[in-house]
């Protein structure tokens, strides 16, 4: 893989130049939150953010969109979400997140809405520094060797740029004069030191190796019931997780316009409706069962099928769940450790006790 060099001050002009015929999506600050957004003002791009509120999956598959429209004449697919885009500023863990979604949406059951958008999106990664909630070192997703067109590693005054695909190379060729073809020995040394320091900066650690077995062995532990009692069933954990992929589809007819449309929305297996089938029968009416499903998927089933966890260590669930149910507290419970968490101190309802007697 070719590695070249770009002076820092040339990054924004480069991004501006290459996004003349594509939308550029990058992290920006909006009312105290960092989100991926369509960039109009290039000076607003947040180069130093740790994580965005929603993961970059939203740039590929929006939170809600129309799949097609029906009129009296037939139906028309709607691929307006899949216009040509550049996704800039995506960190290694989130690129791994997209690679996991690729397995789900591009292999056994190809999803044209995902595939079209994914093919039309160029991935321009950016290096990052962990905060206390990142644990990508534990999931081995803190570095990335595939899945990007360009990857920018921040070396204080310049970027080292990994060229990951021919599409990435074509972008460079649009402005070759911006780049230095060879990093200096000093650059290589700076990069090496930076890597070592970054590697030791992950304060949150989770041992994933034992997780599939522990999930099996502790399937009936009481902590699941405790979490189930506390879970608000809000679905936030799935919305913010870069690897959660479930969706719901609803048909909307509008007689006033004589049209109809099929809308697709992000869904979550923590919602009760998710596992409801005909006649209102529900396989997972109990919230604890739904949480067990969520964590089985992340830490056991996905590992059996694809050899790695469906968690990329981004830390979003740690910051999002209002009742402290997240990969860290769940894995600690699985390891038999004491956990300081709201769900662990929530008292039982008196009526619960009565019904269980």
């Amino acid at each position: 893989m070719k590695v070249i060099k770009l002076e820092k001050k040339k990054l924004i002009p480069f991004l501006q130049f290459i996004s003349q015929e594509r939308e550029l999506w990058a992290p920006v600050k909006k009312n105290d939150r960092i989100i991926y957004d369509l960039i109009e003002d290039f000076t607003c791009i947040d180069m130093n953010t740790t994580r965005t509120l929603l993961p970059p999956k939203k740039v590929i598959i929006p939170q809600q969109f129309n799949m097609f429209r029906v009129t009296g004449l037939g139906y028309e697919s709607d691929y307006s979400h899949a216009v040509k885009k550049i996704l800039f500023g995506i960190h290694p863990c989130d690129i791994h997140g997209l690679l996991i979604l690729d397995k789900l949406f591009m292999q056994d059951h190809p999803d044209p809405y995902y595939i079209e958008a994914r093919r039309n999106t160029l991935i321009l990664g950016l290096s990052c520094w962990p905060d206390e909630h990142c644990f990508a070192r534990s999931t081995n997703t803190h570095i990335i060797r595939e899945g990007f067109d360009l990857f920018f590693t921040d070396l204080e005054h310049s970027y080292l740029v990994w060229v990951g695909s021919s599409a990435g190379d074509d972008l460079i060729k649009l402005k070759p004069e911006f780049f230095e073809q060879k990093p200096t020995d000093q650059d290589i040394q700076d990069f090496t030191y930076m890597q070592i320091e970054r590697d030791t900066s992950y304060k949150t650690k989770i041992n994933f190796i034992s997780m599939p077995d522990l999930m099996e062995l502790k399937y009936n532990e009481t902590f699941w019931e405790k979490m189930g009692r506390a879970c608000l069933g809000c679905g936030s954990c799935s919305m913010v997780c870069p690897t959660c992929n479930c969706y719901n589809v609803i048909d909307r007819h509008l007689i006033s316009e004589e049209t109809g449309e099929r809308r697709r929305y992000w869904d979550s297996c923590t919602l009760c409706e998710y596992s409801e089938v005909a006649e209102g029968v529900n396989f997972r009416k109990n919230c604890a069962d739904r949480l067990r499903l969520w964590y089985t998927h992340k830490m056991q089933a996905f590992i059996s099928k694809y050899g790695k966890a469906s968690c990329v260590g981004c830390g979003r669930c740690l910051l999002t769940c209002p009742v402290d149910i997240n990969v860290l507290t769940v894995s600690k419970s699985l390891q038999g450790k004491d956990v300081y968490a709201y769900w662990n101190r929530l008292p039982r309802e008196a009526s619960d006790d009565k019904s269980s007697k």
Binding site: N248, I255, S256, E257, D267, C272, E273, A350
Partner: protein, 260 residues
């Protein structure tokens, strides 16, 4: 008027008429809609109303008087389906703020004394379902235009209305808001039915629950979470009661038992 057009009636019991106004507010689209259905009765929109057989009755407001009760029973008798529209019809709304029957009797006496109220006696406010069978619910305070049009279109085409059954939090995350609960703000999003698009948290205001109780709301966890965040019991109670009508009655009853 054409015989095979869907016969519709829009009615208001005790409420602010906001839901009927929202229907009127569909403007251009309403005109087109009114061409495809046969609006038999809609007092707010027209004067030549026919109180006959209906296919669909859309009923706003809670049952708060004897005449509300009579109307809703009468409407039920002559309609194929009945849709409760707005939070008052669905859950009783603000006027049904959960009070004990004895407490209500006391309040009644304070207001009316011993005088006998001749024509239209006040009742303890209740949602429509407390009196007659309701086929579909369209919550909101007021209802949302798009959801109304989608519901009516579905019914007109002979299928059942469909909603994504989720709490406000789901839409709140779609809107990319930082959770207010995590900032120790008393937000009722997890207990409230989605549909509004999480407009309040998106404006950095907590959800007060105006779309009505979410059917799978975990009141026990939210209640204790707010206590954990040092909120006063009475404040939490007041907030949870304000828009939930009779929706959380069971929770408040178990809470009462637990205290005694």
């Amino acid at each position: 008027m054409s015989k095979n057009k869907l016969r519709i009636g829009v009615y208001g019991l005790t409420g602010c008429a906001g839901d009927q106004l929202t229907i009127l507010n569909c403007e251009d689209r309403l005109l087109k809609l009114f061409e495809t259905v046969d609006v038999r009765s809609f007092l707010m929109a027209k004067s030549d109303n026919l109180e006959e057989e209906l296919d669909i009755a859309l009923v706003e407001g809670s049952v708060s008087t004897r005449s509300d009760e009579e109307s809703v029973i009468n409407i039920r008798q002559r309609t194929g389906s009945l849709v409760a529209i707005g939070i008052c019809a669905c859950f009783g709304g603000i006027q049904a703020v959960f009070t004990e029957p004895e407490e209500w009797a006391k309040q009644y006496e304070q207001v009316y004394g011993n005088r006998s109220v001749s024509s239209n006696a006040a009742l303890q406010s209740r949602p429509v379902k407390a009196f007659v069978k309701v086929d579909y619910y369209l919550p909101g305070c007021p209802i949302h235009k798009e959801q109304f049009l989608a519901l009516l279109s579905r019914l007109a085409l002979g299928s059942t209305p469909e909603f994504h059954r989720a709490p406000v939090c789901l839409e709140c995350k779609w809107q990319e808001n930082d959770c207010l609960l995590n900032k120790n703000v008393l937000c009722l999003g997890p207990l409230t039915t989605a549909g509004c698009g999480a407009i309040c948290p998106t404006c950095n205001l907590p959800c007060v629950g105006c779309w009505g109780p979410f059917e799978e709301a975990n009141c026990w966890s939210e209640w204790n979470l707010l206590l954990d965040k040092d909120y006063d019991r009475n404040i939490i109670m007041q907030k949870m009661k304000s828009f939930s009508g009779t929706g959380f009655i069971q929770f408040f009853n178990t809470m009462k038992k637990e205290r005694t």
